[in-house]
Symmetry: C2
Subunit: 449 residues, 2 copies
């Protein structure tokens, strides 16, 4: 490790030590402290920085001195992270970053602190070496991505003028395999909801009352089971109506992409077998087809041994990944109608609608797209593959709508980085390559005609 890279790793470690879990109210202070640390870092680089209050977690905006006639590039990232539980499955403490086997292990190492810091530190290096940047730069870092960016759209609308830009760069997606630079041109959208099923007013003895009243755990299970047919196709009326069909060039390119074979996906996930919508490959299921997933389900006694109780309540948390041209509000209505239609007898069903985000799609071969491809090729020494992403970054679509600029998705995650899961990690080689890529990118974008 060079002395310079060691300093860059140290910076990232400081950033990773903040438990900036945006979904948990008890961590609100940690999210803020993390944002304030970022303000200090960016100010120290000579940028002018503002910490903007929102209804929840603050937004950090930084810029260099803008000069007429140059391209304006906005780099987006988020400094909040997912919760860490089940914490007992981590091999090292999630907020005490460690290097093992060429990777940094910590919550947020890849998603998104490690990736956004590649841009911050690339810019820092460029400023140290040249004293200036070839473009007008705007860093836009939020603290609410993991809860669906509830306050960023109003923020974008309010600051539309000062955030005006030609193109956006985002590293919050993945490379398909080690050493295979990857540019994304599509993202799935999302809509979430939580269902609460209520039966008896309190837990009952399953012997004394079992058989005469509906069991909420059974009822919630029947609701979950109603979402798919036996083959794994989603059984909600009208769910697939607006799905943009795959194009032939996509099916052909994706069939060749390393790391996406049945064996690869099975190995990386450790699943006993693959399972999904009939008629599609794994890449197609992940990048171009929608899903209905249970993220959590719970009812009754879950402890050691048995407790023969008939629970009074049950819940399930759902998320639906959406593809172009599905609309989250439309799907949310269809889901709610389905849950009402299939509500089992003898219980009440309450649906609480959660966050959502639109799917995203753009042309990978536009002038800015070609600049992104070139930056990846120069930084990683290989032509990038073009993919869509299974994950959702709703704000990408919102920025397209509000700021009128497309995003280059220049991901640095790898399939075994375990984002959102225990033992999240970040390959040092991608951190180093990302810092290089960030600098090449600004030069390439500066030269777009």
């Amino acid at each position: 490790m060079t002395e310079q890279f060691q300093r860059q790793v140290n910076d990232l470690f400081e950033f990773l030590r903040f438990p900036s879990v945006s979904t948990a109210s008890e961590h609100a202070g940690d999210v803020r402290a993390c944002g304030e640390w970022l303000v200090g870092k960016l100010s120290g680089m000579g940028l002018s920085v503002d910490l903007h209050e929102t209804a929840k977690h603050p937004v950090v905006v930084a810029r260099n001195l803008h000069v007429d006639g140059r391209k304006t590039v906005l780099i987006y990232g988020h400094y909040d992270v997912q919760p860490v539980d089940p914490v007992e499955l981590w091999d090292s403490a999630p907020f005490e970053p460690e290097i093992r086997d060429g990777r940094i292990w910590a919550r947020g190492a890849t998603d998104n602190k490690g990736q956004m810091m590649a841009h911050v530190l690339g810019v820092e290096q460029m400023l140290e070496e040249r004293g200036e940047l070839p473009v007008n730069l705007i860093f836009l870092f939020e603290g609410e991505e993991e809860i669906g960016s509830p306050n960023l759209v109003p923020f974008l609308e309010e600051h539309q003028g000062e955030l005006a830009c030609d193109v956006i760069a985002v590293s919050d997606t993945g490379m398909v395999a080690r050493g295979v630079p990857t540019m994304g041109y599509g993202l799935r959208g999302i809509t979430c909801c939580e269902v609460t099923v209520r039966g008896p007013k309190g837990d009952l003895h399953s012997g004394v009352y079992g058989g005469a009243v509906a069991n909420p755990a059974t009822a919630v299970a029947r609701l979950v089971a109603s979402l798919h047919d036996a083959d794994g196709k989603i059984a909600i009326d009208g769910f697939y109506d607006d799905v943009k069909p795959l194009e032939n060039w996509e099916r052909e390119m994706w069939a060749q992409i390393p790391g996406m074979s049945k064996e690869d996906v099975q190995e990386i996930t450790g699943s006993p077998d693959l399972f999904g919508e009939p008629g599609y490959s794994s890449a197609e299921r992940l990048w171009a087809r929608p899903t209905a997933e249970v993220n959590g389900i719970g009812s009754g006694y879950q402890g050691e041994g048995s407790k023969t109780v008939l629970p009074s309540e049950a819940m399930a948390k759902f998320s639906f990944r959406l593809v172009p041209n599905q609309d989250p509000a439309d799907i949310s209505r269809k889901v709610q109608a389905h849950l009402v239609k299939y509500a089992p007898a003898g219980v009440t069903v309450e649906v609480e609608v959660g966050h959502d985000g639109k799917p995203y799609y753009t042309d990978p071969n536009s002038a800015y797209g070609m600049a992104g491809q070139a930056a990846l090729e120069k930084a990683f020494g290989k032509k990038p593959v073009l993919i869509r992403e299974g994950g959702s970054i709703p704000i990408i679509k919102d920025m397209q709508d509000i700021l009128g600029a497309d995003s280059l998705l220049l991901g640095l995650a790898l399939p075994d980085c375990q984002i959102h899961a225990p033992n999240e990690n970040y390959y040092l080689e991608n951190f180093e390559g990302g810092i290089r890529m960030s600098q090449v990118l600004l030069d390439e974008l500066a030269n777009v005609k």
Copy 2:
């Protein structure tokens, strides 16, 4: 409250303060301490008492001096209790008994410490007043009823000679309503199992991998949903094969029993509507028809907010209540075959078989049955109703098989005693009546020809 009854309540309070939760290994010491307290109490009454070690929690046996030519009566009870969670739903601490509104509130108040103490204190009172009992008495108190009495059958087999008896009395069941003495002549059996569904080796990001691998939470829900048809009938092959049909006199008597109307059951359970097997009343569903209940289900993220995870594992705990002449081992095999047959694609399903117990049935109008009915009538001033019970006391059937004696089920619980649930409670009037009933019963049984 008389001074005597106040002393009896104090005794019960002492007994209730032991957190003798048999299912939780961290409470093993509390279960033992509770058994030892019982030894002290019974010795103090002049009985000869033994605390017998088992592989888990001890058995307490006490007897008076047995005299040839008298009837031998065994009184069974258990001093272990159910877990207390969700503890936040209790209005007072579960192991700090309190009297409010004419009831004692504590875990175990009714099930079974309060009911067994009615017999202990009835015997104490009789001994104080007469210096002797009209029968040869055996108290048999175990500490493992709530975990299925795993060590009591071997104990009965080993001590068959010294436990030989003519009849058994058990107060561990219910009265159908306040002031309506109730004798049970049947009990449901039980068989339990826990299913673990495993998918990916760790939790996955539901965007990055959702759609390409089976979701264990969805899979476990599909398994649960497969147990019943849409009408609420159990859909396991052969499940109803050995069910003894209801007799006409039972359907007629049960239709008249107070507290069992649709409105009564709905009010006591607080369910939005009743639901169960088509073609049967609530009493029939509870006392003469089998069930398939989920006691607990869990997977993924169950905390505040959302976490868009695809969980690696899911579990469900099942209990099946059985009626004469279903056999727990046979049903357990049928359940396992069903779970294997319906195991969803892309996951592995592991079934761990739990405790079980046979259903019980006897003639309520035998000579001993008539003595039990007379004792209830004299203690509570009204002819008892004859019912079966929805709950399971597997040991009743085991004692019938091993000791060759039938049990009189002389319940003192009421429908709103909330056994196995938060805010368990015991009516003082039933405690007092139970102490009276226990004494009348010994006289009635002594006189059986």
